[in-house]
């Protein structure tokens, strides 16, 4: 059976399963379904959180980034997992105890202010929409390859599917659909990794294979890779730092704080039965995430090795363009891989020197999808990877759209602007908000600011600088008041946005950047993607300063802070689907 038919079948089956689960979850009374069981089980919730969390960026882009950055790609690995430590200890248990529907709602109550709630909604929307753009890029890449069309067409197809899936009703039963999506994506990620690790090192566990010797030789895989890439003039794989140590530090910290401040992840912890379950759930989520994240470095290094060895089987030897493998031809069709025969010798030269390099475009986002083909794995494995990439993108897009829609309909409309609208009107408003978010993200997906993980990284900067500090101070300080929190959030958001826009262009349209995006113009050499932590520090500082010179919060708010710190008497869990309807 040819690859495309097989891909259609596997993707079709997985989609049928998601729709089936959504339908089944809806068929029984949702109320009975969740409340009779007393909230979602911590392990189940952990798995759903992992699927919600691991996006197209984690699945498709991350290993590609590590493959080309080597050690420099570690920021994504540490940043996107270390944030769960902060989430588990600093936020999740307390927000569960507080026990309402949305993150802006907490901020509105804690800072006794509708204005604070609106600022939180704005921060949430900016962060989530930026994040959805990254998903759209991932969906576009996956569909363009799997339908063998150009990126733009792939993006439109992907947008339509996300639209139907999220807006028309796939939202119902989201927790159980996400569990199925986790299973699909983790199989799709680890099976090719196991195959490739076996091929290269004889060790079936990719995490160990990466530290092993190559089959039939005494050379360690990483040493061989270091040797190959340095011979071609690239930086050594295991030590190549991206930019400065300060930047690496800031980038990792921004990603960690941002992870803990992303609203679509936080709301997942509102669904478990008790406070202790929120902690357990954070543990399980991290376990399920680390299964994929610890495999990614192996996927990355092995993909890079295979890529170079395909093009140049032995040092000095070059592959003829005529003999290029079929995956090469297919990716050329998408426009994400480009070859230009600069010296007209019909051979492929791939080196670090831009004047001689003939692989003029190797989009990093194609690495995970191309990897099993480069390693010549069976077609069903390749088809499975496509299904996994789509599961990752869809589950995250659904979670994000839910967060955006509930912020607009529940916090902005019902909570502030139009308190008298009916539940039905609120639901319709949230559907319109979702459709709007998809359209905006799709448009920006056509003009992608950076590769998918880069776009997503900006969302983290925004969550880190605005939402995380407000939540943390709200729990750990009784003295931070309304004035301080609002001033802090605005400062964090504005500083980060200005810094990003001045270097990257307003709304990422590069031609509108008024300070070129180059290291010389960066503050302490910190790139825009890594700037969230500076925004967060400014947020903390401004919030404390302003609170110190204004009136302390009222007694009932201080009592509320005391109350959420204690794990006993937590109210009923939130049903995540129903949070839309409230």
């Amino acid at each position: 059976m040819d690859l495309q038919t097989l891909t259609f079948i596997i993707v079709g089956i997985t989609f049928a399963v998601y729709v089936g689960i959504a339908f089944w979850a809806r068929a029984g009374s949702t109320h009975e379904f969740y409340v009779a069981g007393g909230g979602v089980h911590p392990v189940a919730n952990g798995m759903a959180t992992a699927a919600d969390w691991m996006s197209a960026a984690s699945f498709l882009s991350m290993a590609g980034l590590i493959a080309f950055y080597g050690y420099g790609g570690s920021v994504f690995l540490m940043g996107w997992t270390g944030g769960y430590v902060l989430l588990a200890m600093l936020l999740a248990p307390y927000l569960r105890k507080y026990g309402k529907f949305t993150v802006p709602e907490f901020i509105g109550d804690r800072y006794y202010s509708k204005a604070a709630r609106i600022v939180a909604v704005v921060c949430l929307i900016v962060a989530s929409v930026t994040y959805v753009i990254g998903q759209m890029k991932g969906v576009g890449v996956a569909f363009s390859r799997f339908l063998e069309v150009d990126y733009g067409t792939g993006l439109v197809v992907g947008m339509s599917i996300v639209f139907v899936y999220a807006v028309m009703g796939g939202m119902k039963g989201i927790t159980y659909t996400q569990i199925a999506q986790y299973c699909v994506l983790i199989f799709a990620y680890t099976i090719p990794a196991i195959f490739i690790s076996l091929q290269l090192t004889g060790n079936p566990i990719p995490q160990l294979g990466l530290g092993s010797t190559l089959t039939g030789s005494d050379t360690y895989l990483l040493d061989k890779l270091d040797l190959i890439v340095t011979d071609l003039g690239f930086d050594q794989y295991t030590t190549s730092a991206r930019l400065s140590t300060v930047n690496t530090f800031a980038y990792t910290l921004s990603l960690m704080i941002g992870t803990a401040g992303l609203p679509h992840v936080i709301i997942r912890f509102f669904t478990v039965k008790k406070v202790s379950d929120a902690r357990k759930s954070a543990f399980w989520a991290l376990v399920f995430i680390v299964i994929l994240y610890s495999t990614a470095p192996a996927v990355a290094a092995m993909a890079r090795l295979n890529l170079h060895q395909t093009i140049s089987p032995e040092a000095g030897q070059q592959l003829a363009y005529e003999d290029r493998p079929s995956w090469f031809k297919k990716w050329e069709k998408t426009g994400l891989l480009e070859f230009k025969d600069k010296n007209d010798d019909g051979l492929i030269t791939y080196t670090a020197d831009p004047a001689e390099n003939e692989m003029v475009k190797v989009d990093r986002d194609i690495m995970v999808l191309a990897n099993p083909e480069i390693a010549q794995l069976p077609n069903w494995v390749i088809a499975l990877v496509a299904a996994g990439g789509l599961a990752a993108a869809l589950s995250t897009a659904a979670g994000l759209l839910l967060a955006i829609a509930s912020a607009i309909s529940h916090d902005l409309l019902k909570g502030v602007l139009l308190p008298n609208i009916s539940e039905k009107q609120e639901l319709n408003a949230s559907r319109i908000a979702m459709a709007g978010a998809i359209a905006v993200a799709g448009y920006l997906g056509f003009n992608p600011p950076d590769f998918a993980a880069g776009t997503v990284a900006l969302a983290f900067g925004l969550a880190a600088s605005s939402i995380f500090p407000a939540l943390m101070m709200g729990i750990f300080s009784k003295r931070i008041n309304r004035e301080g929190a609002i001033a802090g959030m605005l400062t964090g958001l504005v500083i980060t946005l200005l810094y990003v826009f001045q270097h990257k262009g307003i709304m990422f349209v590069a031609s509108t950047s008024f300070l070129g995006d180059m290291p010389a113009n960066w503050f302490f050499g910190i790139e825009p993607n890594a700037f969230g932590v500076i925004g967060a520090v400014a947020n903390f500082a401004v919030a404390f300063a302003v609170s110190a010179v204004t009136k302390a919060p009222p007694q009932d708010v201080q009592d509320m802070v005391e109350e959420i710190r204690m794990p006993d008497h937590a109210g009923a869990p939130v049903e995540i689907e129903q949070s839309l309807d409230h």
Partner: protein, 97 residues
């Protein structure tokens, strides 16, 4: 003052003290674990990576291993310990649900 209201006052005071002690224990545990969190990622994976790279375990340079494997396993252990210890504290202070 009647005997029963003194008693109520004692119980309230007692509960207040218990809650304060619980919160202190929570914050202490949190700070210790955050130190570990910092050491395994920022110290071993970023600041001291070059020095640690001189040591090897199998094909891995140690600093590289911390950055791309070890820190993540450490995070899992930290969250596990936090969850276990906090459940024990909840019980110890009679604040479990």
């Amino acid at each position: 003052m009647t005997a029963s209201s003194t008693n109520d006052l004692d119980i309230t005071k007692n509960l207040e003290n218990r809650k304060r002690a619980y919160w202190r224990a929570n914050v202490k545990l949190m700070l210790i674990l955050l130190c570990v969190w910092f050491v395994i990622s920022y110290l071993c994976g970023i600041l001291l990576v070059e020095q640690l790279n001189a040591i090897r375990i199998g094909g891995y340079k140690l600093g590289f291993w911390f950055a791309q494997q070890g820190s993540m396993y450490g995070f899992v252990v930290i969250v596990f310990i936090y969850s276990r210890r906090m459940s024990a504290l909840d019980k110890q202070f009679g604040l479990d649900d």
